[in-house]
């Protein structure tokens, strides 16, 4: 630092001396000092020039040294106007491109969300878990509530949500008084259950929790339904439409078919189960406090003999809650996760009036 300061001081002093020489020659030269005046002017001018360059050199040298030592940071590089304009254009172009990409990705995300929501609301049969976690429809609640009547037999034995469907089938297997009507009801019950029993009805009471592998559960249940319904249909042999429906239900693997199945979940389906008189079912039916609780008459059975039997509003109360076949079926463990109840819990151990869900349904 000493030499830089010394050089700067000497350069500054030489600048002052040169300036003084010039000023003295011009201002105080007088007429008698012709030679001295020229010498002073020339010397002063040369000194000024030399000292200016020396000042610049010493200052630059010092700055270089300070920059090398890290005392002075690197200067911000100056950018020409043209380069600045080019950079600005490139920057705005990049921003536009990024905004476009972001908009596109947001649109894709919205579309995916809509698609997933549609799938979720559609309740795809084929997809695992939808059977157990589908969106409940209106007609769903009766089945779910029925499944909650006898949880030990219905709900837990047949995997919760589909318990109603198995009920219907088992009921059909049971010794119903009117075979044809029971058959039809059973098949419809199965199809309806296939669509809407997977919902979480208010009375579903958490029996149909999402199992560890709902897809396997659904497939297993469908195969059970098929195995139970096939001999039944073979025995009756009078309703090919039902066979088609059964095959449609069993063969379902896309959510697009769901609405057609959901149509079967109308309340008109359920009462066909009323024709049951299975001994295993009787106690639960007897406990019902429904005002219209009565066994199905032969006329109703005849009405139910149609491919799409109309069910009466009281049929679900008379529907068997447990059959011997159900009790014989291997019980499945309830789902580990708890499903929030949509309605107050019903005392499942008591065979009594319909659950809140079913009451609300009616």
């Amino acid at each position: 630092m000493t030499r830089y300061l010394s050089g700067l001081c000497v350069a500054g002093l030489g600048l002052c001396g040169g300036g003084w020489l010039v000023v003295a020659a011009v201002a105080f030269g007088g007429e008698s000092a012709g030679g001295a005046r020229r010498v002073n002017l020339l010397t002063g001018a040369v000194l000024i020039a030399v000292c200016c360059s020396s000042l610049v050199c010493w200052s630059r040298a010092w700055r270089q040294r300070m920059r090398a030592d890290g005392v002075l940071v690197e200067r911000f590089p100056l950018v020409s106007r043209r380069e600045a304009r080019r950079n600005r254009r490139a920057l705005s172009r990049d921003v536009r491109r990024a905004a476009k990409l972001a908009e596109r990705s947001a649109r894709g995300a919205r579309r995916a969300a809509r698609r997933s929501a549609r799938l979720a609301s559609g309740g795809a049969l084929s997809e695992g878990g939808v059977l157990a976690e589908g969106v409940a429809s209106a007609g769903d609640e009766a089945y779910s509530a029925a499944a909650s009547y006898v949880p030990g037999a219905n709900g837990s034995a047949v995997n919760g949500a589909n318990g109603a469907g198995v009920n219907g089938v088992n009921g059909a297997n049971g010794s119903g008084p009117s075979g044809a009507s029971v058959n039809g009801a059973a098949v419809h019950g199965a199809s309806a259950n296939g669509t809407d029993a997977h919902g979480k009805g208010p009375g579903d009471s958490g029996v149909n929790g999402a199992g560890p592998n709902p897809g396997e559960r659904a497939a297993e249940l469908i195969s059970e339904l098929r195995s139970m319904l096939e001999p039944l249909l073979a025995a009756t042999g009078t309703q090919p439409e039902l066979t088609e429906q059964l095959s449609a239900v069993v063969g379902h693997s896309s959510p697009a078919v769901q609405p057609s199945l959901a149509g079967h979940s109308s309340p008109a389906v359920q009462p066909s189960l009323a024709g049951h008189s299975s001994p295993a079912v009787q106690p639960s039916l007897a406990g019902h406090s429904s005002p219209a609780g009565r066994p199905s008459s032969p006329g109703e059975s005849a009405a139910a003999a149609s491919p799409l039997p109309q069910r009466s509003p009281f049929a679900s109360e008379l529907r068997p809650r447990a059959t011997a076949a159900e009790l014989a079926m291997p019980r499945r463990r309830p789902a580990p996760m708890s499903i929030p109840r949509l309605a107050p819990a019903v005392d499942d151990s008591s065979v009594g009036p319909a659950s809140d869900g079913e009451d609300a349904w009616w």
């Binding site: 630092m1 000493t2 030499r3 830089y4 300061l5 010394s6 050089g7 001081c9 000497v10 350069a11 002093l13 030489g14 001396g17 040169g18 003084w20 020489l21 003295a24 105080f28 030269g29 007088g30 008698s32 000092a33 012709g34 030679g35 001295a36 005046r37 010498v39 002073n40 010397t43 040369v46 000194l47 030399v50 000292c51 360059s53 020396s54 000042l55 050199c57 010493w58 630059r60 040298a61 270089q64």
Partner: protein
């Protein structure tokens, strides 16, 4: 390079001072035995100051450069000793 130009400027200042002191007598506009004119006084005084300043500047630059060389030698020696110590430890 820059430092050399700077040193050259200092040397030029010193030379200009010497020149200003000697110019009245060398060029003959100061007669021998006569009293000094105003121009002579101005040149001698200014030249003397510039020569002293130039000399001091040269002295300072030299001292500064020598001091830097000593500092560099010291740092190099310390770095070398540190490296030797690390090598001996490893």
């Amino acid at each position: 390079m820059v430092s050399r130009i700077g040193v050259a400027g200092v040397v030029a200042v010193f030379a200009a001072g010497i020149w200003l002191v000697a110019a009245p007598f060398a060029l003959g506009y100061q007669l021998a035995g006569a009293g000094w004119t105003g121009a002579t006084k101005t040149d001698v005084i200014t030249g003397g100051l510039l020569a002293v300043a130039g000399f001091a500047g040269l002295f300072g630059v030299t001292i500064g450069r020598v001091g830097e060389l000593y500092a560099d030698a010291r740092s190099d020696a310390s770095l070398a000793s540190t490296a030797d110590r690390e090598n001996s430890c490893s």
